[in-house]
Amino acid sequence: MKPVRRQRLILIALMVVGAGLAAAFALKSFNENLMYFFSTTDVSAGKAPQDALFRLGGMVVKGSVERPGDGLMVRFKLTDFSKEVTVEYTGILPDLFREGQGIVANGKLDGRGVFVAEEVLAKHDENYMPPEVKASLKAAAEQKKP
Amino acid sequence: MSLQEFFAMGGYAFYVWTAYGICFVVLLANIILPIIQRKRLLRHLALKQKRHNL
């Protein structure tokens, strides 16, 4: 390779590496802000902001969904399989909202430690399969249980 | 599955068909526009050359 070309190639490599390092440092310092939601463990540990809106993500605990009033109010528990947080929400839930499903709620904590949500978004997983396959998987899992 | 059922997309017809429609239009435009522009350029250059030769 001619020296001029080698020089250009080295210059380009340095530029890309430099840009990469700059981006890595920038992302590291903004790491917290890039998190879209807090986990239920964060909330239990008091890491989430008080008196301010934030997003809480977790799995809807099976059997925890209840409608205490006769309105649209829903109460359910969210978990990250270590800590649970109770959530209250009044409004229309997305199609994918169901027990055992991941969701992200936007709202704030009230005095009782209950998360009052203004918005609930469903977070779907990366698994895709036909309903029959899901049914047979479920049956197989139940057979395994004693 | 009937044709009607197929187009209904289980109630998600609006979202599914809009997505496919937009995708199709954008992809088609990406092929057709450069071809039209190239034909136009060729015509323009041919005209210029003819004038030059006169």
Partner: protein, 254 residues
């Protein structure tokens, strides 16, 4: 790179000569379009008709067949653009510069499609058109990078200078590519994790996976077709005064 055998070097040199490239792409085009259309037809038939609905998302998940291949292409084309841009910078090969800039508009289109179809999928499933999470935001940055490349190229009149400027911008923007790919693992996002490229077995049923892969290959062919069409235009514009173009014009309609 240092010891290229002579015949190989000559082959690439001939390939990279503008008149040869122009003639060759014209001959290749019907084949590329034919293969693309067959793959597209199979992919769409498999994805929209044969594949069963999803156990959770019903039929709305069928947007995956354009959303995911488009998102893959948006990353793939960016890498092609950056690499050919770098080749143009180092070796000053005209054809590399042309492939780089011709890729930009196709890449921008795929990024746009990925964002719009994602939005149309997010509304019924997540409950929102848009969120500012790491995945969606970094993909939007990619669209702006593509638009920046196109805008910069058009703003500079001397196209050789423009190509150099554009290549540098594209190379700096490469840092965004791993960010997009790993955003769903590094940060908590509303967007779900990867399905097909997961290290263990893909978590998508085979009847749904096959059309997805067909569409992905079809989009690759589409990219080659659209990029070559742009490149032919770009080449003519740059070489308008060259002898081979003059000869082309005197021939009966091309």
């Amino acid at each position: 790179m240092f010891l290229i055998p002579d015949p190989v070097g000559r082959f690439f040199h001939r390939m990279a000569s503008p008149p040869h490239f122009y003639a060759l792409t014209e001959k290749l085009m019907p084949w590329l379009v034919g293969i693309f259309l067959i793959l597209l037809a199979c992919g769409l038939y498999g994805g929209l008709y044969l594949a069963p609905p999803d156990y959770q998302q019903g039929d709305s998940y069928r947007i995956i067949y354009i959303h995911v291949p488009s998102a893959w292409m948006s990353l793939f084309i960016y890498i092609v653009m950056a690499v050919t841009g770098a080749i143009g910078l180092v070796w000053r090969i005209k054809l590399a510069e042309i492939v780089a800039i011709s890729s930009a508009s196709v890449g921008a289109s795929f990024t746009f499609i990925a964002l719009v179809t994602g939005s149309l999928w997010g509304k019924p499933m997540w409950g929102t058109w848009w969120v500012w999470d790491a995945r969606l935001t970094s993909e939007l940055v990619l669209l702006f990078l593509y638009l920046g490349v196109i805008g910069l190229y058009n703003a500079i009149d001397d196209k050789r200078t423009a190509s150099k400027a554009v290549a540098i911008l594209a190379l700096v923007g490469v840092v965004n590519i791993p960010i997009i790919h790993y955003s769903v693992e590094w940060w908590s996002t509303l967007h779900q994790g990867p399905t097909v490229t997961k290290m263990d077995k893909p978590s998508i049923h085979v009847t749904m996976l096959v059309p997805l892969l067909l569409m992905a290959v079809a989009f690759k062919f589409y990219y080659v077709i659209a990029m070559l069409q742009r490149a032919r235009l770009e080449l003519l514009q740059r070489e308008r005064t060259a002898n081979w173009v003059k000869k082309l014009l005197t021939e009966p309609t091309p």
